[in-house]
Symmetry: C2
Amino acid sequence: MTYCIALRLDDGLVFLADTRTNAGVDNISTYRKLHAFRPQADRVFVLESAGNLASTQQVLDRIEQDMADPETESLSTVTHLSDAALYVGRLSREVVEQHRGALGNGGSSTFILGGQIAGERPDILLVYPEGNYIRASDDRPFLQIGETKYGKLMLELAVESRVDMDDALTIALSSMISAARANLSVGAPYDLALYRNGSLELREARIEPDDPILHELQDLWIRQLLDAVAELPHLRLDDLGAHRQ
Amino acid sequence: MTYCIALRLDDGLVFLADTRTNAGVDNISTYRKLHAFRPQADRVFVLESAGNLASTQQVLDRIEQDMADPETESLSTVTHLSDAALYVGRLSREVVEQHRGALGNGGSSTFILGGQIAGERPDILLVYPEGNYIRASDDRPFLQIGETKYGKLMLELAVESRVDMDDALTIALSSMISAARANLSVGAPYDLALYRNGSLELREARIEPDDPILHELQDLWIRQLLDAVAELPHLRLDDLGAHRQ
């Protein structure tokens, strides 16, 4: 499967994606699912994808081709981030429609699109296979696609605690590790992108599977768990009205 | 949905189940999903259920009826825990079969059966709707049914760390809170049962939704998360070969 995360924080945006693709457990590959676009100096986009790899790649190719043609709507020409989301949604639908005869109802993809166009506030949007979109809510300003359940708690805690970007990245990575640990279809290397509000400039990096930070994070969580248990007042069964039988 | 947990530890068994049932989000109820049986002095069983509530209740009624009839196979008469699992699996199949005409392929349930029959080692088994079963593995000696993904990490850490029963109960409850927090279809009150190996006696209790332990645990996790982040060496993007675009 896939696990992609986007967080909208007070000072910027954090994107993190795994790279594992699979067609059955006996056919595992590594592909980028996080793509950055800076078609003009006044705008920057990050696109994360989950779903059919062939459809995703065709959408990415269409995005590149459209940017090369100034007469066509593209990430270069859209006025608002929401227009960019609708544009990606339209491409996604067109690609799926093109293969409908062969793929039936399969082959669709879901995207997270984030970034900023100068003059607008930075944002993250989830683009559905149907071509429409939602923004991240103000109460839970993050989005996930793919194998989302294992690592959701950490993201919720992060946004509730209003952490800064560096801490958010660490927490996103912890969330990723949780998903990867539980599900073989999520795996390193991980691609990340950080966007500081107003900078119109992305910082990108890849975290390789042998990066010590991954083991450090995992060890830390185990230690924290044990500390947490040690700190807790033990459940007192008698207080809970426990009875024997 | 449902979330039920069973852990097999060095010194005993821990069972925890939520009580929320739903037929759509506008029809929520509270039902026990954790049931204890002590049909003879030489044996004790805990049965946890996920799936169709009507089927589950009919299975429970059949279990009670069979125990009342000494001529019939029942939890009183089975020789091994694995026979008890096969017995529950048979009832489960029979109940679903009885309603097949009306329910089609729906209506099935999955169970966790745990406990001890004197002379055998205590164990936990997962009974599939098909009527067969698996034991918890030695490497990951826990079972989950229902909404299992949100709280899996904590259970893995618990068994890896070889915690004792009290700590395991706390961790199981944390796992439950994680699931309930993320998914409306899991909710308090929570039923728990503890079995100390060889005791042939269960301790049971219910944790009500307003029990302060639930809030304490949740607060603790938030605090531990923030501590964890503070302790971590921050991700250094430059070390990761970050580049700008």
